[in-house]
């Protein structure tokens, strides 16, 4: 009985309203343009996060107490407060202090800062797991600390950190949906907007979910795997 009362509206939904195909033809272009913005937000914030990860991850390993403490504060702060809180803060509070960033920039900045903090911990872990012998050998060869990092440690770290970084990147793609809440016209925003005028919620949000899935599973993940293979080959050759 309960199942019947659930199913009937469901079938009516599929029957009366625009068929899914009709919906798709009408709204696919809009959703595709939203997905492009999502990809752009993702690309820009991934770059920012990568740079931050590297800088703060290495700072965490510094011999200098001050540098290390600064990195620790940064990492703990951005991991400890929630991403949405950071996003709203940058979007709503920063302008009160005289700095108004565009919604897109606010989104990229919040995502980059937040994921950079998580990435920094991965970089630190990666560097620390390079065998001691490598550090000692570099020292014996009289390399400067900078040389040692660049030529010995970082290349080996790369292969170690890529798999966890890949996971983090998928998380980043998912997190980009939050920028819709600060008016960036991404896939989520477009979906909300279509839902507001058509009320075809199942079709709209269902399609959005599938697009996110395709972006992650068939674009982002294969790309990251390819990077891993590439890195492994490079290091192997060296």
């Amino acid at each position: 009985m309960a199942l019947r009362s659930c199913l009937i509206p469901f079938l009516q939904q599929l029957g009366d309203d625009v068929s899914y195909w009709g919906f798709f033809v009408e709204y696919a272009p809009k959703m595709a343009s939203g997905a492009m913005t999502t990809a752009m937000v993702m690309g820009c914030s991934a770059l920012l996060a990568a740079v931050i990860s590297l800088i703060f991850g290495l700072m965490r390993l510094s011999q200098n107490w001050g540098v290390q403490a600064a990195a620790t504060v940064y990492i703990e702060f951005f991991r400890g407060t929630s991403l949405l809180v950071q996003l709203y803060w940058i979007y709503y509070v920063l302008p009160l202090m005289g700095l108004t960033l565009s919604p897109f920039m606010s989104g990229v900045l919040a995502l980059g800062l937040n994921f950079g903090a998580y990435g920094a911990e991965i970089v630190r872990g990666g560097v620390q797991s390079v065998p001691r012998g490598q550090w000692e050998a570099a020292l014996a060869l009289n390399m400067s600390p900078a040389q040692r990092m660049r030529r010995i440690i970082v290349p080996q770290t790369f292969t170690l950190i890529l798999p966890p970084m890949a996971n983090l990147t998928v998380e980043l793609l998912k997190a980009t949906a939050l920028v819709a809440l600060i008016t960036v016209v991404d896939l989520m925003f477009v979906a909300k907007q279509i839902n507001a005028t058509t009320w075809l919620s199942a079709q709209v949000f269902g399609t959005a979910l599938i697009i996110y899935y395709i972006m992650a599973r068939f674009a982002l993940i294969p790309f990251l795997r390819w990077l891993e293979v590439l890195a492994a080959r490079k290091v192997g050759k060296a």
Binding site: Y92, P95, Q193, T197
Partner: protein, 266 residues
């Protein structure tokens, strides 16, 4: 373009003189103001604003679609230049932004399930029936409900018009309070599942004038806007632009309506 218009120039006038587009900020509130498929400004507040801007010689505009509660902070952060969301001129808002002269007089109403099973027509009925009342964060109705004595535990706050209808559809609330226009739109959309109560049943003091929101730092633009609006309000262009959204001469603000009065008394 219209450099002659602004003798003394504030920031917004400067922007417009420099040929930059004026940016309209609004939320999704059908039929007041909402975006079309490509972000174009629809709804009667947008429509009549465009009529006034045209009168001022401004035809170059952009839009920004926000959550309702983000409209005033967005204006203050200069993310856009004027608020065309259809905001009531209220004291608490006047403390933060300027309003143009009134564009009309409007009332609120309750959206209830068809047949109005709980008999809810106003805030007092909500209190009596211990019903759950849904409305939007930052809506005037939040303040009004509080003044009328609706306890916070009976209030449910959501992001905007869309979420209000979703809450009613899901039976999460017994009644929704919003503008009469907004409620009527929801009735049309719900195929007779809901009805809207008579706006005359609502407390008289909750009737409000609506204005276009502007930054306090743009007084010259405000003056120029008001001057242009005085010429077109109620005219043929104005009525033709707003008619498709249900705005009629009954909504016109009336001769003695003033923003200063609304700011002091609402």
């Amino acid at each position: 373009m219209s450099s002659a218009f602004f003798a003394q120039a504030d920031e917004l006038s400067d922007r417009i003189n420099a040929g930059e587009p004026i940016r309209l900020g609004f939320a999704t509130a059908i039929p007041w103001a909402y975006p079309g498929d490509n972000g174009e400004p629809l709804g009667f507040v947008n429509a009549l604003t465009l009529v006034v801007l045209e009168e001022m010689g401004i035809t170059n505009y952009e839009t920004s679609v926000n959550e309702w509660a983000g409209l005033i902070p967005g204006l203050q952060a200069k993310r856009y230049d004027i608020i065309t969301g259809g905001m009531y001129i209220l004291k608490s808002r006047c403390e933060n932004i300027n309003f143009s002269d009134p564009i009309g007089l409007f009332g609120d109403a309750m959206l209830v399930p068809a047949g109005n099973p709980k008999g809810i027509h106003n805030y007092q009925d909500v209190i009596k029936t211990s019903a759950t009342l849904v409305t939007g964060a930052g809506f005037n109705t939040v303040e009004a409900a509080k003044k009328e004595g609706v306890p916070e535990s009976q209030m449910m706050l959501v992001a905007g018009e869309v979420e209000i209808l979703a809450a009613m559809n899901a039976g999460r609330a017994d009644a929704a309070v919003q503008t009469f226009f907004g409620a009527k739109e929801h009735v049309d959309k719900s195929n007779g599942k809901f009805e809207v109560t008579d706006p005359a049943d609502m407390p008289d003091w909750t009737k409000n004038w609506v204005g276009i929101g502007m930054r306090k730092s743009d007084p010259e633009f405000l003056a120029a806007f008001n001057e242009a609006m005085a010429k077109v309000i109620g005219g043929q262009k104005w009525m033709a632009a707003t008619a498709p959204y249900g705005y009629t001469e009954f909504q016109l603000p009336g001769e003695d309506a003033s923003t200063a009065f609304a700011c002091a008394n609402r």
